[in-house]
Symmetry: D3
Subunit: 212 residues, 6 copies
């Protein structure tokens, strides 16, 4: 019923896209959407000691393989983590460039409720760059005090598993014992959101604007 | 991209559906949706002197012909105008019945910002009856102080004209010189909402919940 | 750090208290609070065919045993389900009576976002009856479109299990296959809310007012 | 009934004042208000190829002539477009200066819902500079997702025409085919807002604070 | 600068108008406004034992004398306290009648945040009856959890004293030791609201809609 | 009932803590809490002519003596007033350092409604630094248009007096005749907030998040 044709996912850092909307990406790819991902930081300082600096970039590529985003549809920039605020204008210009290059009809971006400073920059600039398109804000509960759930994407068990397998490529974060990389956490989120729309699993979104 | 299959429009009174979402109804019918309309009051007392009591019912049927809602998809009840609040439970039960009979995937209903007491009853009960479905609240600017526009349905000139022709069937209201039945008013609304999403014409909605 | 002395939980129907705040009740009882529960409907018509009419009342008593609410602290009324709206004044008067009898310092009540008509009545009347006390609105995700989480009560695994065991007393609802009575659902909720405050499990609340 | 004596309009760029509140300016001038306008950028890069760099400044002066703002009441600064964020402190200091020089009783400024980065800077700094005055946020629908309309200024046809004639001085923007410079767009806006307060034409505002 | 010509104050019970907006009434009368007051309940059961049933009506008349509301501009109905909800349609009809009889340009009414059930009825029906007029919601802090202060009316010491003298006519409520009838309480409110707009005293309002 | 163990108060400038939450600090110290204060600017330019540059630092130390904050629990930085926005990352790093050094369970910070640019920086960075703790936003009415009061701390007359005595140490601000340093202003605030929770005096807070 809702089949976006060209979807652009905006991720402040590697792993944000998979955590926030990996299941939706998997589903829409299955339904024929062309899927694009832009990552603004490979977070070279959020790694276990001794890691190669671009370790997260490699993991991200493996994760996107798992979800099914074609290699040529990935745009991975390397701004320093927690400093996107100093590169606000450049971030906006990348987005304006992607807007004409990718011609997306749906944008997935961090939500307006996200407390992380880099996520907030991506959120705000995406409102400016994609001023007349559908924009949905994905959920990362450890970053929100509260979250407005006006949109839901129903997921099958297969979509959830694909999200999970993608996340398992992030060995560096698993070594760092991020609690939200555990299967129970991923499944719990999907189950709670599913309950709200009478399905088993779902991902929830802040509906910023939908253009039908 | 968004093609609802079965749409149920809830109208407190004859003419509310056409005014609030007539263009959307026309467009989605063209795109293959099965369209249903439930009207809760034929407003027997909102007529010019000397009119037959069911004049609005006849006009409504002609208007829905114009839009293209099949005769068998119309559910027209006759609760007294401004008194739906005393029939809240019955209104809810009609909706629960329609839910299983029509099996809609999208509900169009008055918005939560609508000040009219009957509209408010239909809004509230629709949230209860269709607790897990997509629900969009349509715009009737003379009834709102403010209105939240998170969803837009783009219209062609043909959809707008079809809305306008449907409204022209309401001779009784034109006799009563309702200002919002004038072509300029209808077009102005569509044009303003179009401007917000870089199209010529659109109808705006409060996005209550979308289940994708 | 926060140890309420006398807590009154308001449940529109049997099972709402346990579902929404069973873990919190267990924890605060452990920490020495005196716990009271008022139930406004025993939902005689929400039962599997052939059940005794007061089956939910018996199950509720067993569940409250499990949580640890003393028998003499239970107030179980029998208004018909979905009709609390017609008994609004009586509901308020019960609450006013409980206010002077129980002298609570914290009220747990359905949230303002709850769509169920009976829940909404209990929410609204509790604001009136307890006009100067701490009031927290509990979460029942299948009844909300969105939910504001400004307060969190951290739970241990034991509190969660106690909530779960209490819910298992509701055989009638398990027979009816309510999905939110499954262990996975209960645990998923607690885990998601825990993630937001860096604990394993928690229950979230709409913070209506806190008087410290 | 409401007759401001000294009104200061804050425009991020030339043309924002006329588009957002040109009709109100015309009306209040007719009613005896002293009208002041501050423009922060003459947008030297938003011009058709081959234009003189200060073309928008000249057009702005002609437009303000049309509306009736005296020459000595215009304050036109020249910060680069889209970069007001880097001059936030200077913008604030200009406003603080204007506050003591102009001693306004009403401020018209971009609304808090405006997505454009420069508009947002002017909005935020105006809250700081005019901390105890009446502040109203004007509407530019192509820049908002949603807009809160708690205040309305009723316009006569003459006020609307004066707004229109002022806008017609912006040849550069007409050459660039900005859709919101078309007469239909201007009239549609005024008509929709008029409908909400039972008048033919109006301009709507976000009411930030009114000091009566 | 803002001089309403005809003001209608809606009071659910005797004393609400004086408490919520007595200073504003005094000021606008001084500035030439014609002032009208409608009271929906004389609260026959909110009296000290042994009082004549219409004691509050007499006190209200003395209070309105003090403020300066002409006798012929008072409309005092006698619905039972806490039961306006059962007379919603009649309340609305009184308002519709007042609308054409009084032809007000400004309505002062309880705010949308007011928890008292009767206040809520008057608020909601006033939105319906005066659908295109300026409506401001007055502040009664003991009835709100939170309150939105977008409008302020500055008061002189004389207006405050006139409000205070009017309240002193309510002997019955003073006997009942209502804390908000004490001078310190009245002055504290006015002082806090004054601080927000750099004046000594003010009354604050929720700005529901202003039509300029 | 609510007894925080370790409280960290964040003050953009000397005097903000005492003005916003001096009574709460006094009460919680009496109840055994360990109290910490971080001040980000000693506002060297907000002084009467001829003052020593660190005059506010000395006054602040005397004020904190009065309230009862131990000398070793004070962290006084010296960023220039109105320029915290240029030191956002450093402010955040101080907070992260305090988080591990102080291990607070409750944070008191300026509210999200505070218009002052420095206050806004402290508010935003505190959300980031203390992402899983209880955070309450204190009230400074001259800096807010509107303010959300979901939390109240009840004060005795003694707590209020202690707040007042602390403020009296700020001779420099009294010389500058800040109106909110007058006893009537301080008392009025406490009295209005007390009225909302049926006590004589209270301080109100925006409840950002509470973790119980």
């Amino acid at each position: 019923m809702f089949s976006p044709k060209r979807v652009l996912v905006l991720a402040p850092h590697t792993d944000d896209a998979e955590l926030g909307c990996g299941g939706t990406m998997a589903r829409w790819i299955d339904e024929g959407a062309e899927m694009f991902t832009a990552v603004f930081s490979i977070a070279e300082t959020s790694l276990p000691p001794g890691s190669p600096r671009d370790r997260l970039k490699s993991e991200c590529n493996e994760a996107l393989d798992q979800i099914g985003v074609p290699t040529e549809n990935r745009f991975i920039y390397n701004y320093p983590v927690r400093e996107l605020g100093y590169h606000r204008q450049e971030v906006l210009e990348h987005m304006v460039g992607l807007s004409s290059e990718v011609r997306p009809d749906v944008i997935l971006t961090p939500s307006g409720a996200d407390l992380h400073q880099d996520h907030n920059v991506v959120f705000q600039e995406s409102l400016r760059a994609f001023r007349h398109l559908t924009i949905m804000g994905y959920e990362l509960p450890w970053n929100h005090i509260t979250f407005s759930t006006h949109a839901f994407v129903v997921l099958s068990e297969d979509h959830l598993l694909r999200k999970w397998k993608a996340l398992m490529k992030y060995d560096s974060q698993i070594e760092l014992q991020r609690p939200y990389f555990r299967y129970e956490a991923i499944e719990a989120m999907a189950r709670v959101r599913g309950m709200q729309v009478r399905s088993v699993y779902a991902e929830a979104y802040e509906m910023i604007r939908i253009r039908l």
